[in-house]
């Protein structure tokens, strides 16, 4: 029904030379982005927006990008996508897990528009999914953290107990443990993606209880500042480089680098070669970048970390390689076996050695 109405209005619009539709018909390729936070959040959305700008830079006049920030997940997201599709966007990136069902719903109404949904698992002919293997970066962080800690206590600020975050904790823990068998992880769940004051409090609490390395899976730089104030505490940048806190406390970082993927997909739509698929790239493909390892890290540790990075990038080593057991002592991966993507995607258990319960 809506398509018929759409065609009707398209004819009317051609007469009226409506600005939007005229552009949509034979101008540049219009690419839409739906962001979950403000582009100034300094983390998740910020990096997606950087990639949007990279797309503009790459294609110049041939693309027009539009975006909407701070779009709540649910009805508002559906409207935002519909609005973009109606006004002529041919490719829409929806950049948060919670947009999954809305993306599928809207995609069903606009079969000619391609959708790319970040971190989801539902696909259709015109909905592809993509995500990044951040856990690869966590492995490197874990290694450095294990080597650097003097108290053998590492603090971890989690947002919500979802597979993405749990995967990161496990990956970091496994590699910290390899580097330093005495290491112990203390996880604090902030129950927010973004609340700088609370993140600062969480970091302070961890530091005061003797954790001298802080990993974070929340987006603000507040934990970095708390660590800087405390002195002698190491941190890692999350989502973006947070280089302003280098060389101490920030000793390295995981950077989300969506630009190559976005450019590739935009090009595919231009060439008419776009197909729905599931992309899950890591360090190797450049979707996950490791920020510069600062001078605060001893040379040999840095060398080990870089070697680990190369091994992961080349595919020679998988961060989840057996033998590994689950927290309850049951077997998970046998010697030499690597975790399959299905298990990783829905990971809801800790590996052996981690203490505390996952709240789920």
């Amino acid at each position: 029904m809506q398509r018929r109405t759409l065609l009707g209005t398209a004819a009317a619009a051609a007469v009226l030379a409506g600005a939007n539709l005229a552009v949509a018909q034979d101008g540049p390729l219009k690419v839409g982005f739906i962001f979950v936070g403000p582009i100034g959040d300094g983390g998740w959305t910020y990096e997606h927006n950087q990639a949007r700008l990279a797309v503009e830079e790459e294609f110049g006049d041939k693309v027009e990008t539009v975006y909407q920030e701070s779009v709540p997940e649910g009805a508002d997201a559906e409207r935002a996508m519909t609005q973009m599709a109606l006004s002529g966007a041919k490719l829409i990136f929806t950049t948060s897990f919670g947009y999954m069902d809305p993306t599928i719903n809207v995609a069903a109404k606009f079969p000619d528009v391609k959708f790319e949904h970040a971190t989801g698992f539902k696909r259709t002919d015109n909905v592809g999914t993509y995500s990044a293997r951040f856990y690869e970066g966590r492995a490197i962080q874990g290694h450095i953290a294990g080597k650097l800690t003097k108290t053998n206590k590492i603090g971890y600020i989690g947002s919500y107990p979802i597979p993405e975050v749990i995967r990161g904790i496990n990956s970091a823990y496994i590699h910290a443990k390899k580097a330093n068998p005495d290491v112990e992880f203390n996880v604090v769940w902030a129950y927010t993606w973004f609340d700088p004051a609370k993140e600062a409090d969480a970091a302070t609490a961890l530091i005061e209880q003797g954790n001298d390395v802080i990993l974070q899976h929340t987006d603000s730089t507040a934990p970095q500042a708390a660590a800087e104030k405390a002195g002698n505490v190491y941190t890692f940048g999350q989502a973006s480089d947070m280089a302003e806190f280098a060389p101490m406390p920030r000793v390295s970082s995981i950077i989300d680098n969506w630009a190559p993927y976005y450019i590739e997909r935009v090009r595919a739509v231009m060439d008419g070669t776009w197909q729905s698929d599931d992309t899950w790239d890591g360090i190797g493909a450049g979707m996950v970048k490791i920020g510069e390892i600062s001078s605060a890290v001893p040379e040999e540790v840095k060398a080990e970390a870089l070697a680990l990075k190369d091994k992961i990038a080349s595919g020679e080593y998988h961060p989840f390689t057996g033998p590994l057991k689950k927290q309850d002592g049951s077997d998970w991966l046998a010697e030499g076996e690597t975790a399959d993507d299905g298990t990783l995607l829905g990971m809801n258990f800790y590996v052996e050695g981690l203490t505390g319960d996952i709240p789920n």
Partner: protein, 310 residues
């Protein structure tokens, strides 16, 4: 689980820091409400203060100038509320909420150029040997100056409301604006001053977040602190001492729950996360249950429109 890792002195010291932004904003709102004006725009004024302070501090390199700018920014936004509610006699509840909406928007607009910038550090006060005293040194003598300023402000407002003539007039305006007007006091002018003071304090609270607690600028960074400040004023039944208590209780619970989590206390996270709110309610119920019906301490004219009919 090992609770011995939580040091009481450290915990108390960090709760003082955590409570400071709420305390500053709540004390400002107290003065405003004492004059009979209910300004629900604390969140908007805080975040405006946060960005104004941040921008000023970055531009001048001086945190002190930053805090002054924050106070000015918060007060300016508050004056907008003043014009609406005092001159144009608009509804205070709605105007306050609109102020919050406007403040969050305008602050994000101003802040566009300040993302990812690091502000000049606000140093700890060097109190020399005092901060070396065991326990008390860490607890009382190792903070930045804003923490002490918050305490001094609380004391100052208490003295002002209780002992000064101007404070008496302010309270009179809040209790019965018609009577105060009949006695020849300029109700609107007094309320304007109180509103501006409230805005300035909220601005300071916001700047404490952006310049000291976090310190960085990100959109929406106050994340609801203004609402808590409003609740704390009610919690403190419009008395500075109790507001201090409330801010410390709330800040303390926030810090404590994170500490308990860090110490791996086997209690569901949601229970710990909601504990500051639940505990605040419980304490308020206990406090209010002990008193008779008549003793709602709210200023009688709170939220009422005043128009001097001539």
């Amino acid at each position: 689980m090992d609770l011995s890792v939580i040091s009481p002195a450290v915990l108390l010291a960090s709760l003082m820091v955590a409570a400071t932004p709420i305390l500053l904003a709540a004390i400002g709102e107290l003065v405003c409400e004492k004059s009979g004006v209910l300004n629900l725009g604390v969140e908007g004024m805080m975040i405006t203060g946060a960005i104004c302070g941040f921008a000023m501090a970055v531009e001048t390199g001086s945190p002190l100038v930053g805090f002054l700018g924050a106070a000015a920014g918060g007060a300016l936004l508050a004056l907008l509320f003043g014009v609406l509610t005092q001159l144009l006699l608009a509804n205070q509840v709605a105007s306050g909420l609109a102020l919050t909406l406007f403040g969050i928007g305008i602050s994000a607009l101003i802040g566009q150029g300040y993302r990812g910038v690091k502000p000049p550090p606000t140093t700890r006060l060097d109190l020399g040997p005092l901060s070396e005293i065991p326990f008390l040194g860490r607890l009382l003598f190792s903070h930045d100056w804003v923490v002490y300023f918050g305490l001094a402000l609380t004391l100052g407002v208490w003295l002002f409301l209780r002992y000064s003539r101007a404070g008496l007039v302010l309270r009179a305006v809040g209790e019965s604006h018609d009577a105060a007007h009949a006695l020849g006091y300029k109700v609107v002018a007094i309320r304007f001053a109180a509103i501006a003071f409230g805005g300035a304090c909220a601005g300071l609270g916001g700047a404490y977040l952006s310049l000291v607690r976090v310190p960085q600028w990100t959109d929406g960074m106050t994340a609801g602190a203004g609402w808590i400040a409003l609740a704390i004023v009610v919690f403190g039944s419009w008395r500075p001492g109790r507001i201090l208590l409330g801010a410390y209780l709330f800040g303390g619970m926030t810090v404590l729950q994170l500490n308990l989590q860090a110490a791996q206390l086997p209690v569901p996270v949601e229970v710990l996360s909601m504990s500051p709110f639940v505990l605040t309610i419980v304490v308020l119920v206990i406090m209010s249950a002990g008193r008779g019906r008549a003793s709602t301490a709210a200023p009688a004219m709170l939220g009422r429109v005043f128009h001097a009919s001539s």
